[in-house]
Symmetry: C2
Subunit: 145 residues, 2 copies
DNA sequence: TGTATATAGTTGCAAATACAACCAGATGTA
DNA sequence: TACATCTGGTTGTATTTGCAACTATATACA
């Protein structure tokens, strides 16, 4: 039953993009100030860290961080060149490979997190009560469903 | 008083980016399916349309859509090449110019809106009640403040 | 007034992104 | 088995972005 969106919907939509862009900009700036790698790197490394030794197939990483496969392929290239991850051939599927985080990769995670976290807290946490954050997450969850 | 963000904050933060990326992807895909120009173009044209004949200074456009000045400069180049906007020298400041939307630019707005609107409604409006949309806008507003 | 500094906008260059074409290897089906 | 189709991943090319340097005008202030 899709009709045209009402004004409230449009308002929320616009706010979402504006908020996202602003926050992203601020976090990126913070990372850069500290000469740390870009946020995407962190996202990938974090997902890999979460699953431990098993690693992830490339497409699984893509699903998690919503990045298209060609971009991901080259992002992994860059990470691999810095020895933060490595690609391992896998028996389960002759085409693909498993991506695993290296010790250096974990080191990067540890170095980035404090800066990232501070930035999240300043731009986000300080501006919402715990209750509001929960509510926001719930609403966004509905959008994502 | 910035401490480390609690889990709820992080959760909301992640959801925000995920939602944004997903929605953006879907809208872009819809626009492309209809061979329409990218969303950025729409954003700029819409802002220019809103202010009417006066037009906007380039930096004003940048403030509204949160785009850095060099990117904006080239985005305007592209729009101008398609004759959707034009740059006019202004007396108020010898450095800058005023950007104004052209009749062709308005035509593009009219062509894009139905597709954009349908996409917003499907991916966003249909998933939230009016009340929820209002609430979401309010929460995002606090983040942006 | 003259000099320093800030601001608006552009441009060169390097890096990242999007898109389409492609190469396996996997899967479905006759 | 053989053939078509699908999927995971890579690569070439064009476009867009990010960064830094630059031009030119405005503004602040001694």
């Amino acid at each position: 039953m899709s009709e045209f969106p009402n004004d409230t919907t449009i308002e929320a939509w616009v706010m979402l993009h504006r908020a996202n862009r602003k926050l992203l900009e601020e976090v990126s700036a913070a990372l850069k100030r500290h000469s740390l790698p870009p946020l995407d790197w962190y996202d990938v490394l974090l997902e890999l860290h979460r699953v431990g030794d098993a690693g992830l197939r490339q497409f699984e990483v893509g699903d998690k961080i919503l990045l298209s496969k060609h971009n991901l392929s080259r992002l992994i290239d860059r990470l691999e060149k810095q020895a933060l991850v490595r690609r391992e051939a896998t028996a389960e599927d002759g085409r693909g490979n498993r991506i695993k985080i290296t010790a250096d990769g974990k080191k990067v995670l540890r170095k980035v997190w404090p800066v990232y976290a501070e930035s999240i807290q300043q731009e986000f946490g300080d501006k919402l009560s715990a209750q509001e954050a929960t509510q926001l997450a719930r609403l966004l969850g509905k959008v994502l469903a």
